[in-house]
Subunit: 332 residues, 6 copies
Amino acid sequence: MKTYVNEIKENENVDSLFLVREKSSGVTKTGNPYLKLKLGDRSGEMEGRIWTSVEMFAQSFERDDFVHVKGKAVSFQEHLQLNITHLEKVGEEEILLSDFFPVAERDIDEMFKSLTEISQQVKNQYLKKLLCLFWEDEPFLERFKMAPASKWLHHTYLGGLLEHTLSLTQLVLKNAPHYDGLNMDLLLTASILHDLGKVEELSYKRSFDYSDEGRLLGHIILGVEKVEEKIRQLPEFPKDLSTLLKHLLLSHHGQYIWGSPKKPMTLEAVMLHYLDDMDAKINGIKQFLKAQVPDGAKWSAYHRMFEQAFYVPNLWEQMELTNNIEKNESEG
Amino acid sequence: MKTYVNEIKENENVDSLFLVREKSSGVTKTGNPYLKLKLGDRSGEMEGRIWTSVEMFAQSFERDDFVHVKGKAVSFQEHLQLNITHLEKVGEEEILLSDFFPVAERDIDEMFKSLTEISQQVKNQYLKKLLCLFWEDEPFLERFKMAPASKWLHHTYLGGLLEHTLSLTQLVLKNAPHYDGLNMDLLLTASILHDLGKVEELSYKRSFDYSDEGRLLGHIILGVEKVEEKIRQLPEFPKDLSTLLKHLLLSHHGQYIWGSPKKPMTLEAVMLHYLDDMDAKINGIKQFLKAQVPDGAKWSAYHRMFEQAFYVPNLWEQMELTNNIEKNESEG
Amino acid sequence: MKTYVNEIKENENVDSLFLVREKSSGVTKTGNPYLKLKLGDRSGEMEGRIWTSVEMFAQSFERDDFVHVKGKAVSFQEHLQLNITHLEKVGEEEILLSDFFPVAERDIDEMFKSLTEISQQVKNQYLKKLLCLFWEDEPFLERFKMAPASKWLHHTYLGGLLEHTLSLTQLVLKNAPHYDGLNMDLLLTASILHDLGKVEELSYKRSFDYSDEGRLLGHIILGVEKVEEKIRQLPEFPKDLSTLLKHLLLSHHGQYIWGSPKKPMTLEAVMLHYLDDMDAKINGIKQFLKAQVPDGAKWSAYHRMFEQAFYVPNLWEQMELTNNIEKNESEG
Amino acid sequence: MKTYVNEIKENENVDSLFLVREKSSGVTKTGNPYLKLKLGDRSGEMEGRIWTSVEMFAQSFERDDFVHVKGKAVSFQEHLQLNITHLEKVGEEEILLSDFFPVAERDIDEMFKSLTEISQQVKNQYLKKLLCLFWEDEPFLERFKMAPASKWLHHTYLGGLLEHTLSLTQLVLKNAPHYDGLNMDLLLTASILHDLGKVEELSYKRSFDYSDEGRLLGHIILGVEKVEEKIRQLPEFPKDLSTLLKHLLLSHHGQYIWGSPKKPMTLEAVMLHYLDDMDAKINGIKQFLKAQVPDGAKWSAYHRMFEQAFYVPNLWEQMELTNNIEKNESEG
Amino acid sequence: MKTYVNEIKENENVDSLFLVREKSSGVTKTGNPYLKLKLGDRSGEMEGRIWTSVEMFAQSFERDDFVHVKGKAVSFQEHLQLNITHLEKVGEEEILLSDFFPVAERDIDEMFKSLTEISQQVKNQYLKKLLCLFWEDEPFLERFKMAPASKWLHHTYLGGLLEHTLSLTQLVLKNAPHYDGLNMDLLLTASILHDLGKVEELSYKRSFDYSDEGRLLGHIILGVEKVEEKIRQLPEFPKDLSTLLKHLLLSHHGQYIWGSPKKPMTLEAVMLHYLDDMDAKINGIKQFLKAQVPDGAKWSAYHRMFEQAFYVPNLWEQMELTNNIEKNESEG
Amino acid sequence: MKTYVNEIKENENVDSLFLVREKSSGVTKTGNPYLKLKLGDRSGEMEGRIWTSVEMFAQSFERDDFVHVKGKAVSFQEHLQLNITHLEKVGEEEILLSDFFPVAERDIDEMFKSLTEISQQVKNQYLKKLLCLFWEDEPFLERFKMAPASKWLHHTYLGGLLEHTLSLTQLVLKNAPHYDGLNMDLLLTASILHDLGKVEELSYKRSFDYSDEGRLLGHIILGVEKVEEKIRQLPEFPKDLSTLLKHLLLSHHGQYIWGSPKKPMTLEAVMLHYLDDMDAKINGIKQFLKAQVPDGAKWSAYHRMFEQAFYVPNLWEQMELTNNIEKNESEG
């Protein structure tokens, strides 16, 4: 059973799995070599030291490996440190990613089920078939379900991409019928596929970071290429429909300056952009408020990307006013 | 009965109400004075001339007056021109504004009824009372129902402000419950009141234009002042609630550069901004597509404010594809 | 008598008033609880510790309270620390704000007298009455005289708002007559009132910070509301005059991007903007030069907001040149 | 005596001096050559035709020449046209520039006298000598007194550069003593010299336009070079003083984006920038209001460079309120 | 043989091929229908009228068709107009595109030969094979050789894309060896392929305009897709190499604001961006100088996109100075 | 012989030259005064202490002096510290600048020889003479050869200005003949002189920093002034040629926002800007990659000025692919 870093106490013996975040070697004052490690899991990080059989252990694992560690927690210069007596590399298949990274609060399989159910509302035969190709692509699905939606800004947890995709798709379902003449099939398909390039843009099995492809090409292009790859398997897929769908993916950031090489040029593209931006921003602020508000404070810390702080209080709770908020939550 | 400018044919006698858009005097080659008028209604404009009793007529009306005109349409230099034999100023109460300006397609009273019904979902007693004060303010309501929402960009017709307000409020009803913890009462109240300053910002009884107050102070400030004026009549109204509500009004443009003196700092303010912007933009594009697309063209003209053109085709209709669009329309 | 933090020496006994800037609890290695405080006044901050009667003291005061403290200064890890034997909360009325915060160099009452004298040059009866309403509003005046003008940039000391207001009003007196046709009454009134919203925007009785209202609405809106509140008490006040005056307040930042929801649209608004900006910037640079120039350096540190450094030398003094500068100073 | 274009009536004989703004040749339907001219002076432009001795006249003058013309005004296609019977080129020395271009309202020699008087307040011996070199440079003075300050924006008339320079210098005299420690000598010298590069940047003897040097180098650089040229004649002139003075010239536009290669880095440079910008803008708006406000309108046309319209009314006049404005004018 | 529009004279009979740029119908004063055409070729446009057999002709061709026309040029309201007696639609294969649009000065086949020769310097086997696939794709080549490089800015003539591509590739050949460590193979391949998406972005067989795909997706994305399509035919093509190559295409505009979804992140991408931008700008200015400089003028008209004018003179020629310019030209 | 800071080991005796970067005094716990120094050379910095004859030593040197130091390296709080027994100030002429600052990899005299050889290709007699004046100005040349090209961004080492100048001039030689009609003489002269103002903008004999003149006027203006100074010695130098040359210097940053007071207005100025920017950026990235890439990393650190990271890998080396890169290097 996993022992989390933030549960470890002084003088306890530890026997659990960790991720090696840093690895370097040092020399004691008496001239003996030792290994300095930083061990992590989803709850935090701690220092580790290997004082014996140093050379043997040093060759048996690398930075970014998952390892099975035995040792004892001792206090050194006001911090806890793990004196490691045994360490063994373990494979990815032996660990639970969710032990090592934050994970979405909602159940991932449930969210995925909701998404595929909504996708069945798409009636256009070509778009329907296109979505099916994705739903049948197991290697893709495995990554799609676990990927975060962003490194910094919003949905930055395992399952975050799926959560954001489902949320946007539900928003589209609610908003598209509000206006005459918007094409629901196109909007649903585009909202389901809009960020799929993030599956390749972000790596998240060791830390949340951008892959080389992600940095050099970006999720917008990676997504368009992925969609194009599936469309090639559907020879009847109309060219114009493909162009329109790709336009929605390309333009969903809304402005050149936000990395879209095209501005939205159809009503569907305009709606997709606004709802995507709103969902990302609301989730991002909520995550930030959870993490960056001192107890009892009325204002969050300053948010660097948004260049502002956010106001926290829920007046209704504080003022015991008659209000409407329970109703909202039950519907949410 | 009103005869519209675009119905008048050569050599017809005309007997109808018009708005005097321009008025100046000229002298014929034979040295006689005459009056040159531009007469308008919602269908267009035409030239008018008064050749007799010039001085008497000249003193009886001014530019921007509504007038009852009798005369005959003749052709001059390839354009129709009205030779006026009789002209009489009429009061505002004798005309129908909707004869002179474009008007919303949806029935104004029906829209207003929908809005007040939604407003009854607000449970917080203070916000409820605040809305009631507006619903009881007949002079305000009269203007609120008829005002356009903008001079250039979106909902530029009589009843446009009401239509936009109702649309935004419905969007709030759909979207707020999608997220936990957003305050529906605050959002509903703010969406109903967000643009009410436009009642004073825009003048629309002669042409759609900005009032002096509108230009010098702007609808955001005018709206906050109007809300403050009503809140003063509710001495128990909590200060913090008033501040939050005004913050939503002030920040609903989202950015300094778009004229908001504050950026949205609460989740409700963030949502209000996105949905308001989306509704204005979608309506604006739809109006533009109606007016600025040559027959059969696939692209609109270049839109100066948005700095782009828009793509027109409805692929579904053209390609006779199975699609989902009827369903959307029936729900819309 | 006040002992300032920067006067306290090792091993001295201290008996004075301080502001509690931080308060938290700790446990000694031997398991005993203690209180950790940060105590401050206008000269700086120091650590404080309460080792005895911890629970009793802990309940008797909070962060941001003013307290009467007795104890002894000891050295710990190269810093001074106050071992507190006695601590008692005191009311705001028992302290001098100027013991705790920097204060304007010029006498506050004298500056206020100068300002009210200038205000008597306003001849327009409505503006004259409006100013009188402010001069008779004692609670407002108390705050107006003590408030700083800004948290970061300029006049960041008690009395700074008054100093800036007086300075701007004097500049208006000098500059308005330079041009034909500018309305001196409007300019004087607007310069006196232009920043009065800062009285509510900034809190300064514990530290210089923004109030909730200040953050959510901003001093421009708060000022316009305050002016509107007074104008309501003057039923004859002409609407157009009120609009013009409020326009000057709204537009005095000059650009959307600097937080003004309107750009200056009258000559008076244009002048007010330039002189306000010049006064704020010159004072801000002077404050910065006092604080951020190493001894003997010719260049200040880099100023983050202005994104540049400033040049310091006074060539005249260095080069013993014949010059004009004494004259300027005697007039200043 | 000069007959102005806007005074010429149909069928009058004309005998006066004009500027040839355009010159081209045509052929009548009967195959005879003729000359088409556009003749101008400060009051406007009119068409001119030469039907006889065409070849001889054609060789005797060019576009941009001043000419003495005799002929008769006739009406052609609703416009007046001058049928020229005699035309003779005249030299620049035979005309009055002010007959052909708008000229400052204030007397040019009087303004220049005021400026030189102020310049005597400069006490620093080096700056004093520098200014003297300019006052002794007759060819420079001749151009300096007549040049406009800008082609488009402000003081766009003969003598405009001098008027703006004097105005800025007077503003400096008023504002510098308001702050401690600003160097009046430096500020006076810089304000007198700040725009002198415009003498070479703008050509104005045929039309207001930019010279090649003006376009390729700009008045800021041309001015610095001119100042450097004079300083070379003063071998004792301190290097640091020269650098500071040139910094004020270089930075007076305030921002890179407005063409200054350096931002103001001293208090004097900051003040010079604000006052220069204020003076240019106030003059520019006043000129615009004179030219671009329809009779009785409350709003000017849209100003392209400032991207806004301006509000016109003088409430005091309209409302017959007690006011302060006469006093201002008498002082101005 | 083609008769060009600008060669047609009054009363001449015309028998030649034209492009129908506009087509509409009218009614004569006597009530007879007629057809109004605008006929064009590379030399200009003229009006055409069909007065007889109107219905028959009307059905035989459309706007944007090439037609064989017989008729007579007559003068109407000061313009020439073609009274058409015979008109017949012709296929694209019967016309020479270069009769209808401007064409590159350099021979297209020669330029293409130069480009393919340079491409043989690429040694990397994968990039070599990739280029071969393009050189073997006849339908692509046909379009690639004829396409313009832009609608507005630079190389706006048939063959312009090829000319720009060759020019950039030659620049790369010259500049890459100047720095250590830049990869010539990657740079050559990317410069050859960088704008190939313009083949589909621009339509040019009727007028120079953007295709639907071009507007909705843009040449950057279209180019990346085209490259991806070819790479799929090369199963061994290394993934990293493909990513790097696509990064050069994506980032060659250099900035988000100029439509690149990624900024250049490798030295090769940085160089490609600068040389591409320099070549486009120099060609664009040269084209502009040819078209937009009045005879003898020293300054071009104002260039809207570049927001400036350009200086024309060649001092060397004017001043008969000893100079270096012949040498340059001989090398060019 | 110089002992470099990074070569010094614990307990070694040191006898070498250093630069005094910081100097302050302290008092030991036993009450004795001592001196704290920071000593530096091109390899780094270390602490120094003088415990004896403190007063005598204190008076014998200042911060920024070069000194001859004898002492012993001891370990204190995990860092090395030099206990100094002897210290003596030495003159600038006794040290080698390159011992104290990083220096260009290429030999400075060789680079200078290449530059002067290229300058002989200039045939225009005036430009030729102008360059000669610079080549004969020994005090200028001494500084020109040693100056860095920038404090932060590119070529930040002794000889960097010369290296960048030579590189740009070689680029001009390669690129100018690629286009018809560019003036090689003008381009060569301008590229040689374009950054010469940096000789006075940057000080580099104690540390790389900006001089007062550099900060207040900038290298663009300083360079134009220097060129103007030389041109004055050539009375025949044509005015237009001087204006054009200065335009190239003024505009070489390309945009106002990058500090150029003029945008490039001739083809030569356009080319100079692009090549200068490309050379600075490529060198800057290469320097950054050397310094800011952790071993084995594929991505550099984030570059603050360029606001991005750079991609490092050389695929060819890693993948052992056939490639072209050796050829490039041999030519470079």
